[in-house]
């Protein structure tokens, strides 16, 4: 079988500070996996290590193929869409230009992709020429997801999609993530501090503590097992 994404014993450092220590995890084809943990645990660094934004040692394989020392430009071409903290919105460009950029690695006609994106987010049509930086937080998050959809990724790396959003908006975002996963078949590695909603959406979860994997298992188990949940997630 082989998972879509495999991390084996990955280390990463920022200068003298070691952010990740021997991290191993997998994400299966079409799976939603949550990566949880407190602030500073290394969740963002893990995503950066996968997309190649930060240097790391250890093995990372995508569909069996080692990613080596690829940078993000190259990883994007392999079908990995990384929506970073802050959404990576091109604030100075228009909504439509942001979408076009999402499809940068794709060739051929984009019409089908635009149509599909508008199905998920019909409101984008009326805002095409608006400067992306003037959208609200929730709208920018949706634009970021839309941009990722344009890429038709095999693997979606989402860094705290609900950050700074009102609960209703966040719930909508998670609903869309689940819908994207079901309809597009993209696997999702979801980094979140909001554990409760993530566990509702993801099939499996890992918990990071100070750069190391402290717990891994099915999300329903984690959600239901009070003692584990309390000790790792604090609620």
């Amino acid at each position: 079988m082989g998972a879509l994404l495999e991390l084996a014993d990955v280390d990463a450092r920022y200068g003298p500070v070691q952010a990740l220590r021997g991290v191993s995890l997998t994400v299966g084809d079409g799976e939603i996996v949550a990566l949880l943990g407190a602030n500073g645990a290394g969740k963002t660094t893990t995503l950066r290590a996968i997309s190649g934004t930060v240097r790391r040692s250890g093995a990372i394989r995508l569909a069996g193929r080692p990613l080596g020392r690829r940078g993000p430009e190259s990883t994007a071409r392999l079908g990995v869409a990384h929506v970073p903290e802050g959404r990576g919105t091109f604030s100075e460009l228009t909504v439509w230009e942001n979408l076009r950029l999402g499809a940068h690695v794709r060739h051929g006609s984009l019409k089908a992709d635009f149509d599909r994106v508008l199905e998920y987010f019909p409101w984008l049509e009326t805002r095409r020429s608006q400067q992306a930086g003037t959208l609200s937080g929730g709208e920018q998050q949706m634009l970021a997801l839309a941009r990722a959809v344009m890429q038709r990724p095999r693997l979606l790396l989402l860094d705290e999609p609900s950050l700074g959003l009102a609960p209703l908006v966040a719930a909508e975002i998670f609903r869309i993530i689940r819908e994207l996963n079901e309809r597009e078949g993209s696997a999702v590695l979801l980094v979140e501090q909001n554990a409760r909603t993530s566990l509702a959406v993801a099939a499996r979860a890992y918990v990071l503590e100070v750069g190391e994997i402290a717990y891994s298992g099915r999300s329903d188990e984690l959600a239901q097992n009070d003692s584990i949940r309390r000790s790792y997630l604090g609620y």
Partner: protein, 324 residues
């Protein structure tokens, strides 16, 4: 953080005022009209180079001091091609292509290695080193004498209400504006153009969508070199410039002034600034007697300084708020 200035009507109003002044003056006096047109032609040359400067500045926040010298060098290449037997237009097109490749390669070899480990200041010094190198190479290969480059336009003059206006000047204005518009269209409508813009404003986010940011920089230099080549080819036949190793030195300075005046990040502003500087300086020189040719440069800069003191980010620049 970008802030839209509250008094954003002042600049357009002032510009409209200037245009009205130029039009009325030209209708009123033949000399005025002639000086305005030839001033605008100068402005067109400045504009091409100014947009080249803005292009590189937007991508790297570095001022390319070597832009003028590179433009001169490519103009010499054109001269060389013509002297080897190519027709003017063949040489013109070939030169633009060579300029593109040249600019691309220069960024790759001379700038990228510096950018990798250095900061803005080191890149600026490298650009200055490049200026010295290229200007030296031009003199070394072709000598310091003046060379003749034909004009793209036949020598024809139009007589409008007493004023004599050359096709050369009109053509210069036209070609300069056309090349800038072509560049704009490239950036607005093509995939690569969009990728370049993305790389300039948000390089990290651009990488994440797969844009090869370093190649975009090289491309930017290539395009800037093409604009410089256009400027050089327009300048060389003009008796105020003539093809010599120092041909674009003065142009570079006015191009800087224009770019700064327009707001360093705005190509449109650079063009407006360039045309303004070209026209106004010519008029000043004709009508204000204490403005001698030597004083043109200081006067241009005083104007620029005054504008900057009032609006530090230039005419079309966006005011940036510094986070405390």
């Amino acid at each position: 953080m970008l802030v839209r200035p509250a008094t954003s009507w002042i600049v357009p109003a002032a510009l409209v005022g200037v245009v009205v002044f130029l039009v009325v003056g030209s209708l009123d006096s033949a000399v005025f009209a002639q000086q305005t047109v030839s001033g605008l032609a100068n402005g067109g040359i400045y504009a091409s180079l100014a947009v080249a400067l803005v292009l590189i500045y937007r991508a790297t926040e570095v001022i390319n001091f070597a832009q003028g010298a590179l433009a001169t060098f490519t103009t010499y290449v054109a001269w060389q091609l013509i002297s080897w037997g190519l027709s003017y237009w063949e040489a013109f097109v070939a030169t633009l292509l060579i300029a593109f490749v040249g600019g691309f390669v220069v960024e790759l070899i001379a700038i990228r290695p510096v950018e990798r480990r250095g900061n803005q200041l080191t890149v600026v010094i490298a650009a200055i080193g490049l200026l010295i190198l290229v200007e030296g190479a031009t003199g070394w290969i072709w000598g310091n004498g003046i060379k003749f480059v034909p004009s793209a336009f036949p020598a024809r003059f139009y007589h409008l209400g007493g004023a004599t206006i050359s096709l050369q000047d009109l053509g210069t204005i036209g070609v300069s504006l056309a090349s800038v518009v072509a560049l704009w269209a490239f950036f607005q409508f093509t995939k690569v153009g969009l990728a370049m813009r993305a790389a300039a404003v948000r390089p990290e986010a651009a990488r994440l969508v797969g844009v090869r940011v370093s190649w975009m920089l090289s491309l930017g230099w290539g395009l800037a070199a093409v604009l410089g080549a256009v400027a050089g080819l327009m300048a060389a036949p003009n008796p105020s410039y003539l093809l010599q190793p120092t041909m674009m030195d003065g142009v570079l300075i006015y191009a800087f002034a224009a770019a700064v005046l327009g707001g360093l990040e705005s190509a449109f502003g650079a063009v407006v600034g360039a045309l303004l500087i070209g026209a106004l300086l010519n008029l000043l020189q004709s009508y204000v007697h204490w403005v001698t040719p030597q004083l043109l440069l200081p006067v241009a800069f005083v104007i620029m300084l005054v504008v900057l003191l009032v609006k530090p980010s230039g005419l079309f620049g966006r005011t940036r708020v510094r986070k405390v």
